[in-house]
């Protein structure tokens, strides 16, 4: 009974919910309580006051009152340090499992006042600040500060930062002033690819399998590097000319197609199979092949290019996961990658094996 009341109170007070777009830290969202240090100071002040009374030290009263009032005013300063910050979640590039997902957060400080010593920490559902090391940053006046919040990606599927706590103890460390941020942002985590797995040539729809080596040499131009590209494909010369990391692209003759079939993987466990097929997709793309993907729950026709590769990886990442249908709202326009996060529409259109529902 009491527990449920407590829970209700917390729900009313903290209003845990996932939010879209920009969060403005209004008064209603900011909470403040004294820290341990604050209580220690309180104790010191009581001691000082007793001394003042006992020894009748008028200046002692002045000092004690000054310190007390500075402590009280520091509460207001703490609050001001968070008040009216505008925060929105930015893009989070997909990563492979085992890597670190980087969630972009934009802290827009419109005021003429610099905000110091903001701390961001992932708290999940716990109410108290936890032991995770917080991310520390300042938000200078009249600037939009971009913060990369790193989070270890350990499992394939959608990674959500969940509820984060933004807090500050500035300026005197006497008050813990915090606000909860729970954005709809999420990061797609691909399975960790096997380190080495030869492509399953011979599975191509036309039955030929081997692709000519010559096709690899038809240089078709450069494109921007994306995670997962094979190292030998990187145009190091372009890099040396300070044109950034770029990858050589080769045109592949039509007809050289490869079907990457989930059932062809020799591994036993599902996760291993996914790891292998991930490697296949990466290699096939790196080698400039046209490839298709066949999963037990659907099939993607042959194609190539980064968009195709990402779509394949996404299919693999979300395979057999309940998250496919998680009730996240439609991503807001600000949340980066846009439509590609939408559920597997292409599969549905083709009417073959819908995701688990």
């Amino acid at each position: 009974m009491l527990a449920s009341l407590k829970q209700r109170f917390r729900t009313w007070l903290f209003r845990p919910r996932i939010e879209l777009g920009t969060i403005t830290l209004t008064q209603r969202r900011i909470f403040i309580i004294p820290t341990k240090q604050g209580f220690t100071l309180c104790f010191v002040l009581v001691l000082m006051l007793l001394g003042d009374i006992n020894y009748n030290l008028s200046l002692g009263y002045v000092l004690t009152f000054l310190l007390t009032m500075m402590a009280v005013m520091s509460m207001l300063h703490s609050f001001r340090n968070l008040a009216h910050l505008e925060i929105r979640a930015g893009r989070a590039e997909a990563v492979f499992s085992g890597e670190t997902a980087q969630f972009m957060l934009h802290f827009n400080n419109r005021s003429k006042l610099s905000r110091y010593q903001l701390c961001l920490v992932q708290t999940g559902d716990s109410f108290w600040k936890n032991t995770n090391t917080p991310l520390l940053f300042d938000a200078p006046a009249q600037q939009d500060t971009e913060i990369v919040f790193p989070l270890a990606a350990t499992q394939r599927g959608w990674l959500q930062p969940g509820r984060m706590t933004l807090y500050t103890e500035f300026p005197l460390g006497l008050f813990y002033c915090w606000s909860y941020l729970h954005f709809d942002t999420r990061c797609l985590v691909y399975p960790k690819p096997l380190s080495d797995a030869p492509l399953p040539f011979g599975n191509s729809p036309d039955g030929t399998g081997k692709r000519s080596v010559a096709g690899d040499e038809d240089f078709a131009g450069l494109r921007k590097y994306t995670a997962g590209d094979a190292l030998p494909r990187i145009a190091w010369k372009a890099y040396a000319r300070e044109r950034g990391l770029q990858v050589k692209q080769f045109s592949t003759p039509l007809g050289e197609e490869l079907l990457l079939d989930f059932s062809d993987t020799p591994d036993r466990s599902e996760e291993e199979k996914l790891a292998r097929i991930t490697r296949w997709v990466l290699d096939a793309e790196a080698q400039g092949l046209r490839y298709g993907l066949r999963m037990p729950d659907g099939e993607l026709p042959s194609n190539n290019g980064i968009a195709h590769r990402d779509e394949c990886l996404r299919r693999i990442a979300l395979f057999n996961l309940p998250q496919q249908n998680d009730p996240l709202p439609n991503p807001s326009p600000t949340s980066g990658r846009g439509t590609r996060f939408s559920p597997l529409t292409r599969l549905r259109e083709r009417g073959k094996g819908r995701g688990k529902s």
Binding site: Q37, T40, L41, V44, L47, M48, L50, G51, D52, I53, N54, Y55, N56, L57, S58, L59, G60, Y61, V62, L63, T64, F65, L66, L67, T68, M69, M70, V72, M73, S74, L76, H77, R80, A83, H84, R110, S111, K112, L113, S114, Y116, Q117, D138, E169, F170, P171, L172, G173
Partner: protein, 642 residues
């Protein structure tokens, strides 16, 4: 722990310890200074902090040294000394943020110990400076990335905001009359009269410029030779030192023939003794006190805090015409073994005279005629202090004359006693009050004459009448080792000194002397009626709440109001003007299109409106958006006549 933070902490500790340097034992001062220097050097070179066992060793050695020095680790002096040592040692093990926090709190706490010794205005200003350093360091500790200037600004803002709130708290916080628990004997520092008088004790006191008390006379002040402020009365003489002797059960003194009443207010500095000072002879006092048989006014408690009292005295009186036999016997006590020549001299006087008053005059004439010198630096005396003084050195300060005179009187069988206290004072014409300093300490004699009672006799007046009439500086030759100010300073310096003393007096009365009584008086004057502490607490809370709310409004105002765009405002105003002239801007129309339409309709405005539209577009949507261009646009927009 980064370097600037360490320096900040070092400076904080240095600033709180520095005022203590003079009254700490010299080895503790040097140890602390050495540790601070060492720590600064370690921070500068980035060398690692000393090992723990070494610190433990220094801590134990230091604690032992303090215990040896003070014979205790408790009490004020030893406690403060220990605190200094521990604070400096804490600096040596500055490893975590927690250590730094402890140091910051410790620094705040040590400030308070300084108030045991001084609570003057300079001390208060120094407190603010110290607090500023500490708070700046404190902010730095929380936000290490923040530069010195914003750090200082934040600290200053906090401090300035706290000041008015502190004032409210100071005025309205219910005062509790201390002490809450028993205080150690050494809780208060003081200089002042003692109840023992031996050769040299008063001349030492004469070198102190410290204020003993301040007096405001309600009407005309008395003559200088009537300004005898009675302190301890000394009855018992052991050949060298005068002490009060055994105290008898108090029998109220009896005064007759009272006249020439005078009212005055005394603000007495704390001297940790019971006695209060009043002019002879006091009739009533505004504080509860007892009047002893030898006319001393004694407070119930030792005077540990500045005490203000109003008093009335009668300058003309006859005191104790009927004195008890026992008192007269006390007033005749003599150590027979000492000073045979003085006893012999007195016996000769007694033999030649039957009248006590005549003998008194003989003694005074003796001092006057025998070439006695009034000096602050008398030569040391042997075992027979009175003989040596009377017949050999003939140089002495007031205590020598008082002592010798009373001895002679007693030897001549005239009841006599030594009275110590203060004589005169310095008039402060700025504050219109008299300052009585320790250097005004004086000793004189009282003899009991049949039919006259106790009569004041000041033998010093016989040798150096200027001491009585004009003060110490007039009575001594110029090269005497007097405090600088006791000699004759230039007029401007006197004025400055009086102004400062007036300020100090106000400070003492209103800030340091702000106790329960004064609080009630002040609040009543502010218009508060029937003061209870609940009412004060309520007022305090609402006052604080109001000021904090004002601060909050002021601080958060920036956050909630959007900075209006001046350029857009000017443009919209321009559009309104044109609309009034019959050319409203359509909602879909951009600045350039609108300008083109206006230009077509009003050719005389064409050039100006095109220019303004171009500027507006550049300012709103372009990259070139500096202050100068904005101002130009605003001026031109305002100047356009339609």
């Amino acid at each position: 722990m980064n370097k600037p933070l360490t320096y900040g902490l070092l400076l904080s500790i240095l600033m709180v310890i520095a005022p203590h340097a003079e009254h700490l034992p010299i080895w503790v001062s040097s140890l602390c200074a050495g540790l601070l220097l060492w720590r600064a050097w370690l921070a500068y070179t980035g060398k690692p902090l000393p090992k723990r066992w070494l610190l433990m060793l220094v801590t134990f050695a230091g604690t032992g040294g303090i215990a040896f020095e003070f014979h205790t680790l408790f009490g004020r002096e030893a406690g403060v000394t220990l605190l200094m040592l521990l604070a400096t040692l804490k600096l040596m093990e500055l490893r975590k943020a927690r250590d730094a926090m402890v140091l910051v709190y410790l620094a705040c706490f040590i400030i308070i110990t300084n108030f045991f010794y001084s609570q003057s205005i300079p001390t208060a200003l120094y407190l603010l400076a110290t607090l500023m350093v500490i708070v700046t360091t404190w902010v730095h500790l929380q936000a290490q990335s923040i530069a010195l200037k914003p750090r200082l600004r934040i600290a200053a803002v906090l401090l300035l905001q706290a000041l008015p709130l502190t004032l409210i708290l100071f005025i309205l916080f219910p005062r509790v009359q201390g002490p809450l628990w028993g205080l150690p004997q050494d809780a208060y520092a003081s200089t002042g009269l003692d109840d023992r008088m031996s050769p040299g004790s008063l001349s030492r006191l004469s070198l102190s410029e410290a204020v003993a008390f301040r007096v405001t006379y309600n009407d005309k002040p008395p003559r200088r030779d009537q300004m005898y402020w009675r302190g301890p009365v000394l009855w018992y003489f052991d050949g060298r030192t005068w002490t009060p002797g055994i105290t008898l059960p108090t029998i109220s003194p009896k005064f007759t023939g009272l006249d020439h009443a005078i009212d005055y207010v005394v603000t007495l500095e704390p001297h940790n003794k019971h006695w209060l000072f009043a002019l002879d002879v006091p009739e009533k006092l505004s504080v509860p006190a007892t009047l002893t048989n030898d006319f001393q006014v004694l407070n119930k408690e030792p005077v540990h805090a500045r005490l203000r009292y109003a008093a009335r005295s009668n300058l003309v009186y006859r005191a104790n015409l009927q004195e008890s036999e026992r008192q007269l016997q006390r007033a005749l006590q003599l150590p027979k073994r000492f000073n045979p020549r003085a006893q012999q001299l007195a016996a000769e006087w007694r033999a030649g005279n039957k009248d006590d008053a005549a003998i008194v005059n003989t003694a005074l004439t003796y001092f006057y005629q025998q070439g006695f010198v009034y000096t602050l630096e008398p030569p040391p005396l042997g075992a027979n202090t009175v003989d040596d003084f009377l017949f050999t050195s003939k140089r002495g300060f007031c205590e020598h004359y008082a002592s010798a005179f009373v001895f002679l009187m007693r030897a001549a069988n005239i009841p006599a006693r030594v009275v110590t206290g203060y004589l005169g004072g310095e008039f402060n014409d700025v504050g219109n009050y008299y300052i009585v300093r320790q250097s005004d300490a004086h000793a004189w004699a009282e003899v009991w004459l049949a039919g006259q009672g106790w009569v004041r006799v000041d033998p010093t007046g016989a040798i150096a009448p200027d001491r009585v009439q004009r003060g110490l500086s007039a009575a001594l030759s110029d090269n005497a080792a007097l405090p600088f100010m006791e000699r004759n300073p230039p007029q401007w310096m006197r004025d400055l000194r009086f102004n400062l003393d007036t300020l100090a007096n106000q400070w003492n009365q209103w800030v340091l002397g702000y106790d329960t009584e004064r609080q009630f008086a002040f609040l009543t004057r502010l218009g508060m009626e029937s003061i209870t502490w609940q009412k004060m607490a309520l007022n305090m809370a609402s006052g604080l709440g109001l000021v904090i709310a004002l601060f909050a409004l002021f601080m958060l105002r920036h956050l909630y109001t959007r900075q209006p765009d001046r350029v857009q405002a000017a443009w919209l105003k321009l559009c309104r003007k044109l609309a009034d002239a019959g050319l409203p801007r359509a909602t879909h129309e951009g600045a350039q299109d609108y300008a083109a339409r206006v230009a077509a309709a009003r050719p005389e405005l064409a050039e100006a409106i095109r220019d303004l539209a171009a500027r507006y577009t550049a300012l709103r949507y372009g990259t070139h958006n500096d202050e100068h261009a904005q101002r130009e646009f605003l001026q031109r927009a305002a100047a356009l006549k339609i």
